[in-house]
Amino acid sequence: MIKPDDFVSRSDDLAFRVIQGEAIILTAKDRVIHTLNEVGTRIWELIDTGIKVGDLIAKICEEYEVDERQAERDVLEFLGELKEKGIIVIQGAGDEG
């Protein structure tokens, strides 16, 4: 389970393009294409080289003026989906390296 203290980064095993505000991601291991909507693409951009999950939630709250609890629930669920598809890597706060 992903927590706000965790650190999220993009997987190395993919190629992506952000075109006209839409992220298109191709994962290397299964060669499957994934597309993200506007908010998903914004989250993808914010992840960039890596970000603390709590900071990501705070930025989404600020940019989209949504309730913090709602944002946390939605972002964590979305990150869970990306993790399952091998698109992002989550590093726990207590993990080494």
Binding site: D13, L14, I19, E22, L26, I33
Partner: protein, 295 residues
């Protein structure tokens, strides 16, 4: 685990016997060396328009040996693929193992030779292997093998892109006689001197009717959308990229190659106009294509 080794003596024997087939698609050459003369004979007519005498940049030894196939399958820790299972790609050190129905092949990442072992003479499995090899070679030439019908209209080529049942063969069959169908199944799109060109391939659809061995500069991409009316709609760049990527053959697992693939697809959609082609299967659909002034 015992690694499958290329039998160089066998290769030399085959070369001496001149059991070789040189294929060329859009300037990309591949040489097949057959241990079995019957296998070679069985595929000659299939690849006929694409056979030439130039030795390819990549060569592969095709061996048929049922007993060895069974033995090596066990050695490699593999089981026979169940029917209808698509080819599997397994990365091992600096090689890729391609596991097909009744065959497998070892293809080097950077080298120029490969080795395939077939259970028996199987042109269908060979064709799957050829698609895999050409898709990999194409990528190294800034090219893609795209599920599409390719048609020459005057001095330009157009592609009708879509998966199975999206209307590629239907569009090809309805093509006016003044145009030439290059393929109704898989087109090779490759960058030459700064422009993308479209070439026919031997990888034909069910009809096996359209297999033209020539190319023309690419003028436009049409993304097939079956509909009740015939009309064109400009396609957004994200949609176009998604369609090109999802309809192109990709048999790479290396992230550098995946990035090259994505880069080539992006360059392609940025280089020519892309449209959603809404169509119903009548000759009228060609009117909207011919009327379009973008090409």
């Amino acid at each position: 685990m015992i690694k499958l080794k290329l039998d160089r003596e066998m290769w030399q024997f085959v070369k001496n016997k001149k059991r070789e087939l040189n294929l060329d698609i859009g300037g990309i050459g591949l040489t097949l060396s057959f241990s079995s003369p019957s296998f070679l004979k069985s595929v000659c007519s299939y690849y006929h328009p694409f056979i030439n005498d130039r030795v390819g940049e990549y060569s592969i030894l095709i061996e048929v040996d049922k007993e060895r196939y069974k033995r090596e399958l066990i050695n490699l820790g593999l089981e026979e693929l169940p029917p209808d299972m698509p080819p599997q790609l397994l990365k091992r050190d600096n090689e890729t193992l391609v596991h097909l129905q009744g065959a497998f092949a070892i293809i080097g990442e950077d080298g120029d030779v490969g080795y395939a072992l077939f259970k028996d003479i199987n042109p269908t499995a060979l064709d799957s292997l050829m698609r895999i090899l050409f898709s990999r070679l194409s990528l190294r030439h800034k090219g893609l093998l795209i599920h599409s019908a390719g048609v020459r209209m005057g001095g330009r080529g157009v592609l009708f892109i879509g998966p199975s049942e999206s209307g590629k063969s239907t569009i090809a069959k309805l093509t006016p006689p003044s145009y030439t169908v290059l393929t109704d199944e898989l087109s090779l799109v490759v960058k030459k001197n700064g422009d993308f060109w479209v070439f026919g391939t031997p990888f034909a659809g069910f009809s096996r009717r359209f297999r033209a061995n020539f190319g023309v500069p690419l003028g436009a991409l049409f993304l097939n959308q079956k509909d009740e009316l015939n009309y064109l709609e400009p396609a957004s760049l994200p949609f176009s990229l998604k369609e090109v990527v999802s309809n192109s053959l990709l048999f790479e697992t290396d992230s550098t190659r995946i990035e090259e693939f994505m880069g080539t697809a992006e360059e392609l959609i940025l280089s020519v106009p892309c449209y959603k082609l809404h169509f119903k299967p009548t000759r009228e659909l060609w009117k909207v294509i011919a009327d379009d002034k973008a090409r």
